[in-house]
């Protein structure tokens, strides 16, 4: 044997040596344990930095595939080295063949499979799915040429040269900052260009229970910026003349009161309507598109026999029933009590099931008689910046009278209501606001909640920056001017277009009775496939996927989009290795069973019986 061995060519000898090395049982123990240790490390990484990071650092790396390949070779050689196999080795061979098959199936999935997600908004169709890898798409607006660039990910924040893209004409695009989990926050700072900013104040309002700390930016000339805080309102305005200053501090006496005033707040806008006979027909509400009609006026509202009626004509408990419509569709019915502004005005059957709130976002208040003006301004804190931008003035309307004067930054002024004090902690007469992402630590739970962000800038090829750069968070695009060209940059997950589209008819979420907790998700969809004429309507729900072509759609989760529309999120998956893995798994378990529970003696007996 030894002699024959040395007569072999060196290549064959090396092969033989390698085979002997890989088929060793001791190596198997070492490689099994090494894999266990690596996997344990992977779970620790996942716990600290999230699923995606574990993929980037361990499970998705070439060296990890190398380890699996090494183990596969080990299993293969070990199984082969016992050839020719004896009867009692059937279990052993099956098990090891099973492991190899599972590894092969995993390789197929990894190499050829697709695993992404696809959000579809209720009432619209989608045919694009998102893969986990981020990319930057650069579109030349003139030629409409699109180029796509993979953005290298990292587990932690990264500065410096992340990616450089040449744009031709001696200019380039550089990503110089990458944030894996970004929380975008508003940063307010003095305007770098004089005259281009807007007045901004940071107001704190507090007592023992509450502490409100908010920036108010005056962004519409001529209209006060208002921050409604339940029963109170903080407003901030900019005065344009010296006279306005005077009338701010010494307002003219109250106007003669209308019998009643209905105040409507809609997304920060305020409308005042006098409650008189004209309102019994539809009246428009500014430019909002809503119309309001008072159906019933109840000066002395009481509940009798479960119904709201007016007991007399005296304004004891004034209330109105009113209807809201847009176009010709009646949308909501409200009852507003003058004495009980804290009651929910909306009738129950119109209430949003999930939030218990008013869906249109209209807020009503009714003020009556002499109290109309006083009540209207109670709990109001008004701040103004003077015309010369040098001073900040305030006035407070409280129950116990009004106070007014000049604001000193940082000093506390009492308001007279609810023991609240306020202070202006910062004031920038000419400010700019920016949204700047900041890197946040991974907290156990889900890391997909926070999108990644990149900082981009254009440079000339000689490395001279031509601008200070822009932040792009996932899903954001921006148009840049480079030289004479205009290009659009889009940052987001890599997209893949499917050959058919999914139209979401309806998304429903069931809840556990008495709670808001999701109990089930269900999407009713139609598949629009240009290759087939029929458009079947299908329901996808949790654990009930849809198979369409080679793709399978699973109900993964949902999101609430703008205006309360629902977005259903599907996991989309194509897995060519599925049945290979299943087969391998079956072989493996079968093999272990045979190995443990059917000893040679038993086999012989069984086969012996068959022979007869």
């Amino acid at each position: 044997m030894t002699g024959a061995f040395w007569k072999l060519a060196s290549f064959e000898r090396a092969t033989f040596e390698a085979f002997r090395f890989f088929s060793s049982l001791k190596l198997a123990v070492v490689s099994i344990l090494s894999l266990a240790v690596i996997l344990a490390g992977g779970t620790v990484v996942e716990s600290l930095y999230g699923m995606r990071s574990a993929h980037l650092l361990i499970y998705g790396t070439w060296w990890f595939y190398g380890v699996l390949f090494f183990l596969g070779t080990n299993v293969f050689c070990a199984a082969l080295s016992r050839y020719p196999w004896k009867r009692h080795q059937i279990g052993f061979v099956l098990t090891h063949a099973g492991i190899l098959t599972v590894l092969l199936g995993s390789f197929l999935t990894m190499r050829f499979g697709v695993d992404g997600s696809m959000p579809v908004t209720e009432g619209s169709a989608g045919n694009e799915m998102y893969l986990p890898e981020p990319e930057l798409v650069v579109v030349d607006e003139e030629t409409e040429r699109r180029s796509r660039y993979a953005v290298p990910e990292s587990v932690t924040e990264k500065r410096g040269r992340v990616l450089e893209i040449s744009l031709g004409h001696s200019s380039k695009l550089a990503i110089d900052h990458y944030i894996p989990r970004a929380l975008t926050s508003r940063v307010i700072s003095p305007s770098p260009i004089e005259g281009l900013g807007r007045p901004a104040v940071r107001v704190e309002l507090f007592n023992d229970q509450v502490h409100i700390d908010e920036w108010l930016i005056h962004d519409h000339p001529g209209r006060a910026k208002e921050l409604p805080l339940g029963p109170a309102v903080i407003s901030f305005n900019k005065l344009w003349t010296k006279d306005a200053e005077k009338s701010f501090l010494d307002p003219p006496g109250p106007k003669p009161a209308a019998p009643g005033t209905l105040t409507v707040n809609y997304r920060g806008e305020r409308f005042e309507l006098a409650v008189d006979p004209t309102l019994s027909s539809w009246s428009p509400l500014g430019k909002t598109g809503f119309e309001i009609r008072i159906a019933r006026f109840l000066p002395h509202a009481v509940v009798e026999n479960g119904k709201l009626i007016s007991r007399s004509r005296n304004p004891v408990n004034p209330a109105v029933d009113l209807l809201v419509r847009r176009g010709l569709k009646e949308l909501e019915k409200h009852t507003v009590f003058s004495n009980f502004p804290e009651f929910s005005t909306l009738h129950r059957k119109h209430q949003n099931k999930n939030t218990g709130e008013n869906e249109l976002g209209l807020q009503f208040r009714l003020a009556w008689g002499a109290q109309a003006i006083a009540a209207e301004k109670t709990g109001r804190l008004e701040l103004v910046q003077t015309a010369d931008d040098k001073r900040l003035l305030y006035r407070v309307f409280g129950k116990n009278g009004n106070t007014k004067g000049k604001v000193t930054i940082g000093s506390v002024i009492g308001t007279g209501w609810m023991d609240l004090g306020f202070k202006v902690s910062e004031w920038i007469p000419s400010a700019v606001e920016e949204y700047v992402p900041r890197s946040i630590e991974f907290l156990s739970g889900s890391d997909s909640e926070y999108p990644s962000a990149i900082h981009l800038r254009t440079e000339s090829t000689r490395g001279i920056a031509s601008d200070s750069g822009y932040w792009l968070t996932e899903g954001v695009s921006r148009t840049l001017t480079v030289g004479k060209r205009r290009i659009q940059v889009q940052y987001g997950r890599r997209r893949m277009v499917l050959p058919f589209s999914i139209h979401l008819e309806k998304f429903t979420m069931g809840t556990d009775p008495g709670t808001q907790r999701a109990a089930s998700y269900e999407s009713v969809i139609t598949v629009k496939d240009p290759e087939s004429n029929s458009e079947p309507k299908v329901t996808i729900s949790m654990n009930e996927p849809l198979q369409q072509g080679r793709y399978t759609f699973y109900q993964a989760s949902y999101q609430q989009g703008a205006g309360k529309t629902m977005i259903s999120i599907f996991a989309v998956n194509y897995d060519p290795g599925r049945f290979v893995k299943y087969g391998g798994a079956l072989l493996m378990v079968l093999g272990i069973l045979v190995m443990f529970y059917m000893n040679p003696h038993y086999w012989d007996k069984m086969l012996g019986v068959r022979k007869i």
């Binding site: 049982l25 266990a36 699923m51 089930s520 654990n543 443990f596 000893n599």
Partner: protein, 534 residues
Amino acid sequence: MAEIAIQDRGRLKPIDTFAMESLLYLTGKRRWKGMSPVECVFGWLFTFEEVWDKEAFIAIHYLPLKKQVSLPESRNYFSPDELRSNAPLGKLIREAAIKKQRKEKISDIEKKAIGVQNQLSLIHSIVSGAVLYILPNPEGTDRDWASLASLAQQASDAWLPYEPDQKEKLGELIKSLLEAYTASDAGAWNESAPAFQAFLRDDLSKGRYPRRFSLKKEIHYNHFRPFRWAWIFYATAFVGLLLYLVSSYSICKFIGTSLLGIALLTHMYGFILRCSITERPPVTSMYESVIWVSFVCVLFSLLIWLRYKNWVIPTAASVFSVAGLVLGDNLPSVLDPGIHPLMPVLRSNFWLTIHVLTITSSYAAFALSLCLGNVVLGNYLFRPSNIPKIQQFSLFMYRAQQIGVVLLAAGTILGGVWADYSWGRFWGWDPKEVWALIALLVYVAVLHGRFTGWLRGFGFVACTVVSFLAILMAWYGVNFVLGAGLHSYGFGSGGLSYVMGYVLLQLAFIGAAYSRHRKVRVADEINPAIFPRT
């Protein structure tokens, strides 16, 4: 009164369950000064300001918190009034709440402060009736019920679809309850309580009310506590069997085995009861998994006993059962015994049920191999030269380990099948599945190690015992230590000191057995005649 149904956290249950869970959450006890939980709830409802606001019954055990907000450290119970008026505590709670909202990391003290806040808000929402959703919805039992608080807010359009005379009657009934309670008039109470209960069931609900039988069943489950009886029986069975093994008196054997049978039946009865209450398969929470593993561990021991007829096997298994059931019975904050609705992906899923039962059964088999392994180690420590016994017990241990390997391999794969079926991913590198794979790899490495000759006799047993730590990690550690991933239904905290304590004891025991074994130097090589080649 216990049979009043309440809608609480997405489930209709007898108020008995709600009261028990609330009392446990507030005081950590099952009774308060001789009062049953339901009595406590009505006490809070009717005499809070007069009695309970000043009664020290809210449990706070965490010393650093008490120190920081200067509560007397010697006391463990505090009254709602003194907690509310504690300014530093209020400040701490507010700050912690802001941090939590901003998703910043919060310290342990802040976590406990939020816990106190939760206790306070629970008691106050019971007192105001805001969580007492006992007014049935005549549209059906799967609809939203109304709380007692909504009765008081008649002016607003809170949901109450009753006729005016029904509302009036309801008001009267509650009033008579209140009067009877405050006057401590047992006769009046015994009259108005059933009337109130019957009114809710028969009148308001229009017949849409949980069946009396199912409410009674749950109350029986709450009070009978089958799993506690099970561990008591297991413990006595263990003593009986141990006496038999030591003394060979057949009377001990008779007592031990019959107690073991009774324990197993009680255990099973508890499971059937619980499953029929939850209306789902048994293993859906950490608590249930502990109970299930304890059960299957004994079953497997009997399976191996059938083959070898050696009573050491069930005796060793009953130790694990007692340990598991005692933990389940006494650590409600770590192993929550409550029955809660499942997250959507875990509902009504055939593959999930099969997967979970297989995986947890493999834990049970490994637990059995752990117990038997410790029996072998005990022999190495105390009777190191009794090689035939050592080899025989090692074989039992190996048999349990084999069952474990088969089930763990199958269970892990079934997990993949389930994941593939539910969201199209056979393997998603979820920590729970990765740790199941790690545990499998570790056991497989031990088996291969035996073939290489690296592990013989003592080494093989010790490594098998140590391998159970991987199971512990997959079972407990992923949910309670790593706390990440998709298997979030079982997340919790606490208990780490117990687990670490066990791990250290186990390692010390192995170390002691090893040093004795080294000293004695007996050849303990596995005897191929009794030990199988595979």
